[in-house]
């Protein structure tokens, strides 16, 4: 579904990505793991278009989308659950979700998407008129995921959804992610430092210093001592 | 590569500015040049534009009608060189020096305003150049001991003297007698000297000052001050400072329905734009002016007073001015002042047959003359003492001179009509 080839990008004079290759197959969860500063977030942002591309290409469903602006990519069905949530804190939960269905294509399905999200996260229905900035971290993460679902995506990229959350909530989040794959058939690209992401994944990439160092099934990665010690610290 | 080009270009600019071709020193006097770091942009642009056009008109007259300046037994043309100091003090000094040293001008003019006049004074003094002050009305300039500064504009302290004398005369202290005067001026050195002068004069004539307040420059709403003023119930309001605040004061007095027997504003009320801006609210509003279109100074009048006359008649002057600005603009007193300063220089130079600054400066000290601008006479310090102001009143959308009686073009409407 998503194919990243020799992607290079960075901020101004500072290059971060040095040509990683990566593929996400439809209907799977693909995990991208690696230490802090490996360039994982930059990769996601480059795919979505908020960081300028310096070289290489991005293909979505076989189509070259490398230089398409972000909002056009959202139209095609790519979205991101950004690191650090990036909610509209002064807006209510409901308003946040509605904003997810901003594009014309998503607006058509607005009500059914809302229904789905409220069934996934009943708490969001209870609190739909609360300002999102006043909620707990876990709830905010739910709103972020809900907002991303509202765009009616085919591919969701998630940037460290477990960050800063209590272990119990992390479990819940991962369960939800798996549910999204199984029940709605979403394709997911999951970026994590948390090794728990290994278990949820169908396929794993290991990234370090802007390049892919290893890839394989979760078992293969787990069984490779070299990879575990060098990049995962487990 | 592109970057280098830009840098080189700017460097060339720099070199051109510093070593800009110097005019060859002329051993024989071929023309007389006056130099002027004018205020053509920035906050004094309005007055600066008028002054430049005024000087151009006067120079035009000297060359085309007067036939040039008579020095050394022949007539040489008068030349005028001006730069734009942007109403900024640091530019005044460098541009003035450039005029003196590179352009070799013979006489210098100060920019508009007391502050900028002061900024250039030390340079003019250093080079011993006559420095014609046409727009710095502060009395204090002439208490500093400058030797080369010569004023044409009248000093601020006398702006409202005529107005007060007029009230005293035409509204004798019978019932109801106007004794209560309110002063509301802009807070600046110039306006304050006008206010203090007015206060002194008013007390001398037996009026009561019931209100005396200033407002800061750049004010956008005078309502609180005016409601205070309204409470003091004055018979006469005098004040102002600049163009905008004068319009504002008038407009907001009308808004608040503050009716008085007389309203007199410095600077603003004497300009054509005032009537256009205020419409019927301008009716009856007065203002002291150094000069006004319609004054009746003439060659015959000069002869009667036994004074030398120089320069164009008023109508000729207006024609020359319009030619200089290239549009149908009437000159106001900022232009007339600057023109009169040129005429004073011409007379002084011709009298002593020299362009030596010291000799000319002495001649200016002795000089007494009349032009379309009126009388001209300075005291020992260079301060203008000969020029009398006129009072202008808006009557049916036109400016009429109503005081002094000898110069008036219409009778004063007093008390002024109420605001509708």
């Amino acid at each position: 579904m998503l194919k990243v080839e020799k992607l290079e990008s960075g901020y101004g004079p500072m290059q971060i990505l040095w040509g990683p290759d990566l593929e996400v197959k439809p209907g799977t969860i693909t995990s991208l793991l690696g230490p802090n500063g490996a360039g994982k977030s930059t990769l996601l942002k480059t795919v979505l278009g908020s960081v300028p591309v310096m070289g290489g290409s991005v293909l979505f469903e076989g189509r070259d989308v490398t230089s398409l602006p972000t909002h056009k990519k959202v139209d095609l069905g790519i979205t991101l659950v950004p690191e650090g949530k990036h909610l509209f804190k002064e807006m209510t939960v409901y308003e946040n979700l509605i904003m997810g269905a901003y594009r014309k294509e998503a607006r058509v399905h607005r009500d059914e998407s809302l229904e789905l999200i409220y069934s996934l996260f009943p708490i969001l229905f209870e609190r739909k008129d609360q300002k999102s900035g006043t909620m707990s971290g876990g709830q905010q993460q739910m709103v972020t995921i809900g907002r991303a679902l509202m765009t009616k995506p085919k591919l969701i990229m998630m940037d460290e959804p477990s960050q800063g959350l209590a272990p119990k909530i992390v479990m819940e989040i991962f369960e939800t992610i798996e549910k999204l794959k199984k029940e709605i058939g979403l394709t997911i690209l999951l970026v994590e430092q948390n090794a728990a992401a290994l278990d949820a994944a169908d396929y794993v990439y290991i990234m370090h210093e802007g390049v892919i160092k290893a890839e394989g099934n979760p078992e293969e990665i787990k069984n490779s001592d070299e990879v575990r010690e060098a990049y995962l610290g487990i | 590569m592109k970057n280098n080009n830009v840098i080189i270009l700017l460097m060339v600019f720099l070199m051109m500015a510093i070593f800009n071709a110097q005019s060859v020193f002329a051993a024989k006097l071929e023309k007389v040049i006056i130099g002027h770091p004018a205020a053509l942009s920035g906050k004094y642009a309005k007055a600066g534009e008028q002054a430049v056009a005024g000087i151009q008109a006067a120079v035009d007259w000297v060359n085309s009608v007067h036939g040039g300046i008579a020095v050394d037994g022949k007539k040489v043309p008068l030349d005028y060189k001006y730069y734009d100091c942007e109403s900024r003090k640091e530019s005044v000094t460098s541009l003035l020096e450039r005029l003196i040293t590179s352009d070799k001008v013979h006489f210098t003019f100060a920019p508009y305003s007391s502050g900028l006049t002061l900024a250039g004074a030390p340079i003019a003094e250093k080079y011993g150049m006559v420095y014609m002050d046409h727009g710095g009305a502060s009395d204090k300039i002439f208490r500093q001991g400058f030797e080369y500064v010569v004023q044409t504009i009248g000093p601020g302290s006398r702006y409202h003297a005529g107005t007060l004398e007029m009230i005293k005369k035409i509204d004798p202290t019978t019932n109801p007698h106007p004794k209560k005067i309110a002063l509301a001026y802009e807070d600046s050195e110039f306006a304050r000297s006008v206010m203090d002068g007015a206060e002194e004069k008013a007390k001398e004539l037996g009026f009561d000052i019931v209100f005396k307040r200033t407002y800061p420059k750049g004010v956008t709403d005078l309502t609180p001050l005016l409601s205070d003023l309204k409470a003091a119930a004055p018979d006469v309001v005098i004040g102002g400072g600049h163009f905008q605040d004068g319009q504002l004061l008038n407009k907001q007095m009308a808004d608040l329905g503050i009716n008085t027997r007389l309203l007199s504003l410095i600077a603003a009320a004497t300009l054509p734009a005032f009537g256009e801006a205020l419409g019927e609210f301008a009716e009856g509003v007065m203002g002291p002016s150094h000069w006004e279109y319609g004054v009746t100074f003439s060659k015959e009048g000069a002869a009667k007073e036994g004074l030398t006359w120089i320069g164009p008649s008023q109508d000729e002057y207006v024609k020359l001015f319009k030619k200089a600005v290239g549009s149908d603009t009437l000159p106001d007193y900022h232009a007339a002042e600057a023109s009169a300063a040129v005429l004073a220089l011409v007379l002084a130079v011709e009298k002593v047959n020299s362009v030596d600054p010291d000799v000319v400066r002495d001649a200016l000290g002795e000089l007494k003359f009349m032009s379309f601008y009126g009388n001209w006479d300075i005291d020992k310090t260079g301060k203008q003492v000969g020029h009398a102001m006129v009072d202008v009143q808006w009557q049916k959308g036109e400016r009429k001179i109503v005081w002094p009686e000898s110069a008036k073009t219409a009778d004063v409407v007093y008390p002024k009509p109420d605001f509708k």
Partner: protein, 295 residues
Amino acid sequence: MIFEQLSGNLLQGVILGGVYGMATMGLSLIFGVLKVVNVGHGAFIMVGAYVALILFQTLGIAPPLAVPVALILGMALGMLFYYTAIKKLLKGPELASLLATFSIGVILEEVCKQLFTSEARGYHWGLDKLDLGFTVLPYSKLIAFGGSILVGLLLYLWFHKTRAGMAMRSVVEDDEGAGVCGINVDWEYALSFSIGIGLTVVSGVLLTMFIPVGINPYMGGSYTLKAFVIAVLGGLASPYGAFFGGLVFGLIENGSYTLFAQIPGLEPFAMTRFFSFVMLLVILLIRPTGLLRTK
């Protein structure tokens, strides 16, 4: 007596403050969305004043009807300056955008000087006035006040009830979040700069209904400074906060005058200004999010 004056001044202050508030909304909107402080703010107010003046004098169009013209002109100017200068400076240092907006202001001033000369001009609409006894209110002021409230209200509705307005609000809240929702952030920047400038030019028209005189190319400076104080009062990034900031400012400016006037030896008008800037500092320190926000 003093009470009567104070109440008159306060009422005038509210009316004036409404117009001030309106004149600040554009500044706050632009800061809220782009994080750019528009130092050339006052110059756009000046442009609006000329729009009202010229339309009235040459075509006899009543000032309220000049509002749509001002809005269109302002939005066009906003787009022009956004795509020629601002867009390229958004990622640069703060300094660059400050200097750019300042230069834009200078360009406008100098162009207007060439077009209209630096003469202070005005127009005379000639409406009647309302005498309340303790103070007098011309109808043109009341119309300006009503217009300001209307614009403020429309802006509020637009922000809260329309899709486009909510999208812009979401960019104010979090531009990255807005991006993943498929909102074209760059276009929202352009649009909000354009609307911000449009509002500012419109406020210039309304200001002339309040004060139809003294219109000149350099009149904007004092409005820029006032707008800064008002914007901070209302919370720098909140356009309708700015409206209430304006009301508060008008009240304080006119109210404190009466009080300062009781102290001998002071120039109350200048002290009023001094007081408003002190207030600016205090608010920045204690409550940088503005008076309204609860956080």
